[in-house]
Symmetry: C2
Subunit: 201 residues, 2 copies
């Protein structure tokens, strides 16, 4: 059996437009006959290497203000819950380490969606180990054990490696999609990326 | 008879994503039952007030590189011709002054489309008066007369006023759409803006 074409989603849980794509990608891909490859990375070091100390939505005030209005509209369009986070961008190293640990599991997509909802619909602190543990328990896993494994040096290196790879690939923001060597930037290009992947079938 | 709802398109001929919207907006609006209000402005002063000496696609190298790939794909998607301009961003003060002069004419939309094609499909210098004159002649007008009127002090002030208004409205890039007080940024939001306008009917 030929493998299904793969779409990689490169994202950080702190990224608001990544929220839209993380919530949508699995269902869209399933319908189209693709499979999703989860690629967690830290946006912070990427921004720093461009010369930015934080998110462009903080640095560019007008763009940032418009983004919050846009997010309300986009969530309405996609029928997704929304509450503006009181902290932005939220640090997300711990849940991203869990994703790095979990990339090949059956539960990674669900974990990603619940963490995104915690940040962008429930305004919870997604760097709090208790929040992460409860999310893991919620999907029927042993939270403390997975957190422990995610914090092992080898897995910390795995997330660092993803971030270095993101930089080598020329990624400059999230979400970014890759289909083979083709890069698509932003939630607005998710459908285009999936359509491109389908042409490879 | 109640007026049709209006969608304002704020744009600069040098802006590549404005090319996509300028080519698409009239037909989409007509189908939806809206009318287009053309709002030319200079992106240069807007970028300068943000602290940028030129287009963010020049200043942010990775983003700029991806943009050229994205433009090829977007033009294919919208069935628009495309040739990467050898000069970017092109200065467009003269054709924007013509638009400022022509905002209420029946030929403004066609003029805008032809100028955009000159820049993004034919790689021509759209600040050259001979190019502008030939475009005006092509749509059946007296080119030299309209250029002369566009260069009168009162009309130069009109374009300056549009740019100042863009700044007051919080516009930070092109294209930007306004429906009443609601702002929509980017070609990717054109359909959303038109849908919003239709709800006002």
């Amino acid at each position: 059996m030929k493998n299904k074409p793969e779409i990689e989603i490169w994202f950080d849980f702190g990224s608001n437009y990544s929220y839209l794509s993380v919530m949508r990608i699995e269902e869209l891909s399933k319908t189209a006959g693709c499979q999703v490859a989860w690629r967690p990375f830290l946006l912070g070091p990427i921004f720093k290497s461009i010369g930015w100390e934080t998110s462009p939505f903080i640095l560019q005030k007008l763009k940032g203000e418009h983004m919050w209005i846009d997010m309300v509209r986009q969530c309405k369009k996609y029928n997704l819950p929304w509450a503006k986070p009181t902290v932005f961008p939220r640090k997300a190293v711990l849940p991203l380490r869990v994703v790095a640990f979990a990339v090949d599991t059956s539960w990674v997509a669900e974990f990603c969606r619940i963490i995104m909802l915690k940040n962008f619909a429930e305004d919870e602190d997604i760097s709090d180990p208790l929040v992460i543990e409860s999310v893991l328990e919620q999907i029927g896993l042993c939270g403390s054990e997975i957190i422990q494994k995610s914090l092992e040096p080898e897995n910390k290196l795995k997330l660092r490696h993803f971030t270095e790879t993101a930089q080598e690939l020329g990624i400059f923001g999230g979400p970014t999609f890759f289909v083979g060597n083709e890069m698509f930037w932003g939630n607005d290009r998710l459908e285009d990326a999936i359509e491109f992947a389908c042409q490879l079938k």
